[in-house]
């Protein structure tokens, strides 16, 4: 109860915070996905794209600040709400079945925790270059190729992208209702499909990069 008082407000306000920060994170994931697709266009295209992003330091750091703030809000409010769940039902059911929840909805907190760990690892791995065997700033393509030449990081990334897909598939749907946006049933159905399709595209597209890099290094090594 103490934590909820600090953040204040009812669960509707907290869910609105989750939704707004979720929108920022979703937009970022889609942009990041679109940019990363340049991996398939070859080393020059990807490195040029990376250089473009770093050209305006002020813009880069303000984008990072917004992202970091959204990420913190999303994580802190999610944990606060999750802890309130136990408070709302202190004695759990002997038998309890979920008849309607999608896989994404059931696993939201767990995929969220996986993504929290992944984001920390990902930043250390490919942004800062710690936990990387041969990191050269600015040489994005070669950094990626070297990073995914081994199996363990590739597996971590692919599992995390499955978690991302599940998280987005429910998150995109839930954020619209948290903000009171989808009042019509037929539109809700469409949105449900849209969020699953978006999740599939983003997760498959992003997971394809480490898998391709691993496959390329394996064929080259042979």
């Amino acid at each position: 109860m103490a934590t909820s008082v600090e953040i204040g407000a009812t669960s509707v306000t907290k869910k609105a915070l989750m939704a707004v920060s979720g929108i920022v994170l979703t937009v970022y994931v889609v942009l990041h996905f679109a940019g990363n697709l340049l991996y398939f266009a070859g080393p020059e295209a990807l490195d040029a794209y990376a250089a473009l992003l770093h050209r305006n330091a002020a813009l880069l750091w303000s984008a990072r600040a917004v992202l970091f703030a959204s990420f913190c809000v999303h994580v802190v409010v999610a944990l606060d709400l999750y802890m309130r769940k136990q408070v709302a039902r202190p004695i759990s059911y002997g038998r309890y079945e979920r008849a309607a929840s999608s896989l994404g909805a059931r696993t939201m907190i767990w995929t969220g925790l996986v993504l929290l760990g992944f984001v920390v690892y990902h930043v250390l791995h490919l942004t800062l270059g710690f936990a990387h065997p041969a990191y050269v700033p600015g040489r994005v393509y070669s950094n990626v190729s070297v990073a995914f030449a081994s199996v363990v990081p590739t597996v971590i990334y692919v599992v995390s992208m499955i978690a991302l897909g599940l998280h987005v598939s429910h998150g995109v749907l839930a954020m619209t209702q948290s903000l009171g946006l989808t009042l019509r049933r037929d539109r809700l159905r469409g949105l449900q499909r849209l969020s699953v399709i978006l999740a599939l595209i983003v997760a498959l597209g992003l997971a394809a990069i480490p898998i391709t890099a691993l496959a390329l290094s394996l064929t080259r090594g042979r």
Binding site: V87, Y93, L183
Partner: protein, 265 residues
């Protein structure tokens, strides 16, 4: 037909409860689940044991008095049906049914399958009303209502306050119930003056009762014996957030004492 029951028995809120197994060969496929409990209870009374306490009144799905978990599902396996509308033909022969009370912090257990749902009454009292003029009844059809709005209001008004939405919710959220009340009145012209304040007060009342948050998993809609749509939750969020953004109920009172000098000296 043979049906075995595993019923949650708890003499009082203070004492620990447990599942107790009851078997009966007297079950018929045409019996309702509540009638099976009646048969089991008659047997218990004959044996001089304490009968199973459970709530029921109309037994035709309109009053909202009955309700418990059947094999982990609120009101049992059927959509759009309260526990009293579930018949033994809806189960397999030889099946074991786990009957458990609705569980939430805001629903304190009284005995066996009986819980105290007055938290829902307090949510309604917080804002589930409209202001009307006293005096003569207004001319019929004075305020016209679009057909779609009337339908949506009616769908929401079907709520019988049984508590199944809360029981089925993984977070014990009262969002479907509160949303139904807010939508029911907020969609009609008579409900407009208090619309923002109603959303604020009912959502806050639900939070104060200790109900959880909504994750839009959809369990409540499936459990609801009146099949109230999830959109009522979206409506609740919209009305609540709109009222918050407008700063509803926060307008500062402005009082100027008559006789105060116009120019500061």
């Amino acid at each position: 037909m043979r049906i075995a029951l595993e019923v949650w028995r708890q003499r009082s809120p203070e004492e620990p409860g447990r599942f107790v197994r009851y078997e009966t060969a007297e079950a018929s496929p045409d019996m309702s689940l509540l009638e099976l409990l009646d048969v089991v209870n008659e047997d218990l009374v004959r044996k001089g044991e304490e009968p199973i306490a459970f709530d029921s009144d109309c037994r035709e799905g309109i009053c909202g008095t009955c309700g418990f978990m059947v094999n982990g599902l609120a009101h049992g396996p059927l959509k759009g049906a309260a526990a009293c509308q579930v018949y033994l033909r809806n189960f397999r022969d030889g099946e074991t049914l786990f009957l458990e009370p609705f569980r939430a912090k805001a629903f304190p257990l009284i005995k066996d399958l009986v819980i105290n749902r007055s938290a829902l009454d307090r949510i309604i009292a917080a804002g589930g009303y409209v202001s009307v003029n006293t005096g003569n009844a207004p001319e019929a059809n004075t305020s016209t209502i679009p057909k779609d709005f009337a339908e949506e209001a009616m769908d929401a008004a079907a709520c019988i306050a049984c508590g199944a939405c809360i029981a089925a919710c993984p977070n014990a959220s009262a969002a479907l119930f509160t949303g139904a009340k807010i939508t029911h009145l907020g969609k009609l012209p008579q409900g407009q003056p208090e619309r923002g304040r109603r959303a604020l007060r009912m959502v806050r009342a639900a939070a104060a009762e200790g109900f959880g948050h909504c994750t839009f998993a959809g369990e409540c809609e499936t459990a609801c014996p009146k099949s109230i749509p999830l959109q009522v939750i979206t409506q609740m969020n919209r009305d609540y957030l709109a009222a918050r953004l407008r700063g509803e109920g926060r307008a500062p009172t402005r009082h100027i004492e008559p006789g105060t000098p116009k120019r500061r000296r």
